[in-house]
C-alpha cells in the first residue's frame, strides 16, 4: 500500500468513526433539514369602484388569497375562474420543526434538503482535499463547478435581462402570455430600435461558429466603445479630479471650534507627501536621480506600507471565509456547535460552554 493510499484510508476511517460516534451521542441525529409546507390558494376577483364612488370607474381583475380579508369587501366579487392552489415549501430550523411537529404535520423532515447538506459537506471536503494534493475527488468538484456556474450566470442573464429588455420589446404579446404577465402586451412606438441589439447579439453568438468569427467584431466594437466612453468620463471625474481635490488638505488643521489639531495636521502632511512621492515614482519621464531619486525612493516606501496593509486585510478576509466554511461543517452538518440556536442542545463533547 502506498503512503498516499494509507493516508486517505486513515482519514476515511477516522471520518467514519467520527460520524458514527456523533450519531450515537446525538439521539436526534445530525445533518438533517426540515421544511414547512404552506398551501397557497389563489382566487380571481374583480374589484369594482369603492361604494359611493362613480360607478363608471373601471373595474380591475386580480388574484387574491382565498379566504383572505379582501374577499369580504363589498366591491370585491369572485370571477368564475376556478381556484388555483399549490404548496409552497420553506426551510425551517430543526429546533422550530421539533417544536411544531407534534401537532402539525405541515412541518416535516426534508430528504431533499438533508441530502443537500450532505452534498454540500462532501463538496466542501472535496475542495479542501486539494490541500493534501491534487486528486480525482477535487477534480470532480472542480469540473462540476465549472459547468454549474456557467449555466447559473447564463440563466440569470437570460431571465433577468434578456427576456424583459431584448425579447419583450420585440414580441410583447408572446412575452406577456409566457413569462411576464404583468406587462401590457403592447409594443412601444420605438420597438424597432431593439432590432439593433438583437442583430449585435446574433453576430456575437456567431463567434461560436468556425467561420463567422470576424462578424463578431461589430458587437465587440460596440461593447468596447461603450466601455471606453463610460470609463473615460468616470475615471477622470471620480479617480482623477475628485482624488486631487480631495487631497488638497490643510496643513494647519483646526477643529470645529477653530483650535489647532496637531494630529490631523501631521496626518494631512504625511498623506500629501505620500501622494506626491508615489506620483514621482510613477513619473518615468524624468530620471530618478538626486533629489528626485530620493523622493521617488520615499514613494516606494509609502507603497510598501500600503501593500503591507493590503496584505494584512487580505489575510483577514481569507481567514474569515475559512471560518465560515468550518462553521458550516461544525454547525449545519455535524451539529457540534449551535451558534444560531438552530438545532440540538450540545452533544457530550462540547457541552461545556
Amino acid at each position: 500500500m502506498s503512503r498516499s493510499t494509507m493516508v486517505w484510508l486513515v482519514v476515511f476511517l477516522l471520518g467514519a468513526a467520527g460520524l458514527a460516534t456523533n450519531l450515537v451521542v446525538r439521539p436526534k441525529g445530525f445533518g438533517l433539514a426540515y421544511v414547512h409546507d404552506e398551501p397557497v390558494r389563489r382566487v380571481e376577483v374583480t374589484v369594482g369602484p369603492p361604494i359611493g364612488a362613480d360607478a363608471n370607474e373601471p373595474t380591475e381583475t386580480k388574484w387574491v388569497e382565498a379566504g383572505g380579508p379582501e374577499l369580504d369587501r363589498p366591491n370585491v366579487s369572485r370571477t368564475t375562474t376556478p381556484e388555483v392552489s399549490w404548496i409552497e415549501e420553506s426551510q425551517v430550523t430543526p429546533a422550530k420543526a421539533w417544536d411544531e411537529m407534534q401537532g402539525d404535520p405541515s412541518y416535516r423532515l426534508s430528504l431533499k434538503h438533508t441530502l443537500g447538506i450532505w452534498v454540500a459537506a462532501f463538496f466542501t471536503l472535496a475542495v479542501l482535499s486539494f490541500l493534501w494534493r491534487d486528486n480525482p475527488v477535487y477534480k470532480f468538484a472542480e469540473s462540476v463547478i465549472v459547468g454549474v456556474s456557467a449555466a447559473y450566470w447564463m440563466l440569470n442573464a437570460f431571465w433577468a435581462t434578456l427576456v424583459p429588455n431584448l425579447i419583450q420589446p420585440l414580441f410583447p404579446k408572446f412575452v406577456q402570455s409566457w413569462a411576464m404577465p404583468g406587462t401590457t402586451g403592447e409594443a412601444s412606438d420605438f420597438w424597432f430600435v431593439t432590432l439593433v441589439p438583437l442583430t449585435f447579439a446574433v453576430m456575437l453568438l456567431l463567434r461560436l461558429s468556425p467561420k463567422g468569427g470576424w462578424i463578431a467584431a461589430w458587437p465587440l466594437a460596440f461593447v468596447i466603445g461603450t466601455t471606453a466612453g463610460m470609463k473615460l468620463v468616470s475615471h477622470v471625474q471620480a479617480d482623477f479630479l475628485s482624488m486631487l481635490s480631495g487631497s488638497v488638505l490643510p496643513l494647519y488643521a483646526t477643529d470645529a471650534q477653530g483650535r489647532f489639531e496637531l494630529g490631523t495636521s501631521i496626518g494631512n502632511f504625511v498623506l500629501i507627501v505620500g501622494l506626491l512621492s508615489v506620483l514621482t515614482y510613477f513619473f518615468f519621464s524624468v530620471e530618478h536621480r538626486g533629489t528626485i531619486g530620493k523622493f521617488a525612493r520615499l514613494g516606494v516606501w509609502f507603497l510598501m506600507v500600503s501593500f503591507g496593509a493590503a496584505f494584512a486585510f487580505t489575510v483577514m478576509g481569507r481567514i474569515t471565509l475559512l471560518s465560515e466554511r468550518l462553521e458550516f461543517l461544525f454547525s449545519d452538518w455535524l451539529w457540534l456547535i449551535d451558534p444560531k440556536g438552530a438545532h440540538t442542545a450540545m452533544g457530550l463533547l462540547f457541552s461545556i460552554r
Binding site: S143, I145, A179, H235, D239, R325
Partner: protein, 229 residues
C-alpha cells in the same frame, strides 16, 4: 469593411457616451447605448456557456487526457441549464397563478435553487476559503526582511494584523494623553494617512492610464475588437 465598420461603431458609441455626459439634451442617446451594452453583457454569458460546451465537446471527441471530467462538466452544465430554463419545480408568482412560466427560475425549493444552494455555494466558498491556508504557508516561506522595503511591508502587515484583532484592546490601558499610541488608533492613522496617500497616487495613475487607453480606442488607434485577424 472588416476593419472600417467596427472602428466606426466603437468611435461613434464612445463619443456619444462622452457627449451625453456633457450635454444633457443628448443624455438619452447615451442611455440607449448603455441599455444595449447591458443586453450584450447578458448575451456574453450565453456565449460563455456555448464556448464551454464547444471546448468540452472537443476534449471528449478527441479523447484527450481527462475527458471524463469534461463529461462531468457537461452533465453539470446541462442539468443546471435544463432546471433553470424549463423552470422545473417552480411555482407561479402569487399574483399570476395561471402563468407557471412567470415564477422565479431560482426558487429555493426548485432543483435549480437546490444546485445553487448545495453545489454552487459550497464549492465557490471553499475555493476562496482555501486561500487562507496558502497565505499561512507563504507567510512562513516567502516573507523575508531582506531590505528596508521588505521590512516596511512586513512591519505594516504585522501592525495591521495585530491591530485588527481584539488583542489590540490591551493598549486601551494607555492614558488619554497617549491615546495615539493605542494600537487601534495607530492602525486607523496608518490606514487613513500613510496608506491612503500612496493608494490615491495609485488610483490617479490608473485613472490616467484608463483615460488614455479609452481615448486611444475612441480615436481608433487601439482596435482590440479586431483581435488577431
Amino acid at each position: 469593411m472588416k476593419r472600417a465598420v467596427p472602428t466606426l461603431i466603437a468611435a461613434t458609441v464612445g463619443f456619444v457616451l462622452v457627449i451625453a455626459f456633457f450635454i444633457p439634451a443628448t443624455q438619452s442617446w447615451g442611455e440607449t447605448a448603455v441599455v444595449w451594452f447591458n443586453i450584450l453583457a447578458g448575451v456574453a454569458f450565453i456565449l460563455g456557456g456555448g464556448n464551454l460546451v464547444k471546448v468540452q465537446l472537443e476534449t471528449i471527441s478527441a479523447r484527450r487526457k481527462g475527458y471524463g471530467y469534461a463529461i462531468v462538466t457537461l452533465a453539470a452544465f446541462f442539468a443546471m441549464l435544463a432546471f433553470g430554463l424549463l423552470k422545473i419545480g417552480v411555482h407561479p408568482q402569487a399574483q399570476y397563478p395561471l402563468h407557471p412560466w412567470a415564477g422565479p427560475h431560482d426558487a429555493p425549493s426548485s432543483p435549480f435553487g437546490w444546485m445553487y444552494e448545495y453545489i454552487f455555494s459550497p464549492i465557490t466558498a471553499t475555493m476562496f476559503a482555501s486561500l487562507a491556508f496558502y497565505v499561512a504557508s507563504a507567510a512562513f516561506r516567502a516573507f523575508r526582511a531582506k531590505n528596508v522595503e521588505a521590512i516596511l511591508l512586513l512591519g505594516t502587515a504585522f501592525l495591521v494584523l495585530v491591530g485588527n484583532t481584539a488583542i489590540a484592546r490591551i493598549t486601551d490601558a494607555l492614558p488619554e494623553s497617549l491615546a495615539f499610541l493605542r494600537l487601534d488608533s495607530i492602525v486607523a492613522n496608518l490606514m487613513t494617512y500613510l496608506s491612503t496617500g500612496a493608494w490615491r497616487a495609485i488610483t490617479i495613475g490608473i485613472a490616467i492610464g484608463v483615460a488614455a487607453t479609452s481615448l486611444r480606442v475612441l480615436l481608433g488607434i487601439d482596435r482590440p475588437y479586431l483581435g488577431r485577424t
